[in-house]
Symmetry: C2
Subunit: 248 residues, 2 copies
DNA sequence: CTTTCAATTGCACAGTGTTCTATAAATGAA
DNA sequence: TTCATTTATAGAACACTGTGCAATTGAAAG
């Protein structure tokens, strides 16, 4: 028909005719890929929609009202992977280590996503039950109950996930290249009267502190520090554990 | 249109005639106040400018190019306050404790600023020398050097500042009121087959884990967990310290 | 008396998250 | 078959955002 109002839609069909079989999983997949590639700062709903070949509203329809909800789905993806192959018969210390090492591994594979995770874990911790379950059962086996369990739980989640959120997140705009020079300049400008020790000792540590080292696309300096922190926490929790079963 | 040529400036004078004596300090003051009041998410350069009675560009001129630079100044304000009244003659453990407790105190007075601090400390750690100096000297006194010092440094900064960044940051849009109900609903929906322990035990912990308790406008549940984590770290670092001076 | 300069402004650009409304296919009911 | 409802999509618009550019002007410097 000649009087069809086809011009109004600018050629592209509307409605379900254009169904592309969009799913929450695919949205989260592409969102993570986009953040990996372009960085968290540059990630936007509109560009995600463009990458999916879909209108922004479609995304909102699938993930619930807001961008924050999408972030929640992304975070859940990370904490869900954590539970795989948990050795239930091993001592609780080993289980804790396995869980948090796998979390660190998952995040360091997608360092650009890190800035998201902390806030999401905090505001919607109940959505990340695989992680919660693992930590709670471990602490229960250690004998922790009540306020003591709360403190142990928060120390683990807050300390370790906080570490990951903070340290694995790359600097905005990827100024890592100029970073070493910037660092040297800053260190040179330190006032010896105000910060005597830092002034005298920081230069020699410039390749040990602050500056990251990458191997095979993964950071190895923060990773080793994370492991050190993890060991410290497990040792401490073992020493204070109400159930003092011998640590074979 | 009309013959009035002065309307162009809308009554307000331009140029230095309108000088308001804007300073970096005042900008940071008002920025922190705004974030405290409206929340981090709602903070914008334009509204800050409005609150200061000034044009946005004026702020850029004073703090350097970008919003991120302003965040850097804010973070520096927090870490600078940390150094006050450090007992240099006390053992390094006590000095560490003092430093990080004062940091926690500073942040929990401005919980809405927390989301900023992690990223800023990470990407511009060298700008926060008061904190760095304190931690480095303490670790030096404990005998830590080289890679061991790096790991200890990162564990402390990453674990404790990460904890603060993650846990003290309030949920977006302040849905704390509806939170308890939401929590109960989520907990009730937990699949016992997938998460048996969480399902059976989480309800009784609902007022110990996740849910915060406030007294005198300050959170007391995360604060006590932070202190527990701090003690764990200091104990562990003492046990592994190369300098084994007796802990009186 | 000029010139330079520090501090400030308005305007405009290229986005952003999100809401409202229109739409067409799939589905189910009559 | 026919018709209403639901589901999954799109377009346009709104009220913002960070930030660059060029203009402006009082004060200081020469």
């Amino acid at each position: 028909m000649s009087e069809k109002k086809e011009q109004k839609t600018n050629g592209k069909p509307r409605g379900r005719a254009a169904a592309v079989g969009l799913t929450k999983d695919r949205i989260v997949d592409v969102a993570i890929a986009q953040i990996d590639e372009k960085g968290f700062h540059a990630f936007s709903m509109r560009e995600l929609a463009r990458a999916l070949g879909v209108s922004p509203n479609n995304i909102y329809w699938h993930v619930g009202g807001t961008k924050e909800d999408l972030f929640g789905e992304i975070a859940a993806r990370f904490t869900a992977e954590v539970s795989q192959s948990l050795p239930r018969d091993k001592p609780w210390q080993d289980r804790l280590r396995t869980v948090f090492l796998s979390y660190r591994e998952a995040v360091s594979d997608h360092a650009n996503v890190a800035p998201l995770l902390g806030a999401q874990l905090k505001s919607n911790g109940v959505a990340n039950l695989a992680l919660v379950e693992a930590v709670l059962t471990a602490l229960h086996d250690a004998g922790y109950r009540g306020p003591g369990m709360r403190d142990a739980f928060n120390a683990l989640i807050g300390g370790l996930c906080g570490f990951v959120t903070m340290e694995f997140a790359p600097a905005p705009d990827d100024k890592a290249q100029e970073w070493e020079a910037l660092f040297a300049e800053r260190v040179a400008g330190i006032d010896p009267a105000l910060f005597p020790y830092t002034h005298s000792v920081l230069p020699e540590f410039s390749n040990r502190i602050f500056v990251l080292r990458w191997e095979n696309g993964k950071d190895v300096s923060y990773a080793s520090s994370f492991d050190f922190l993890l060991d410290l926490l497990i040792e401490g929790l073992s020493a204070h554990a109400p159930n003092q079963t011998p640590t074979s």
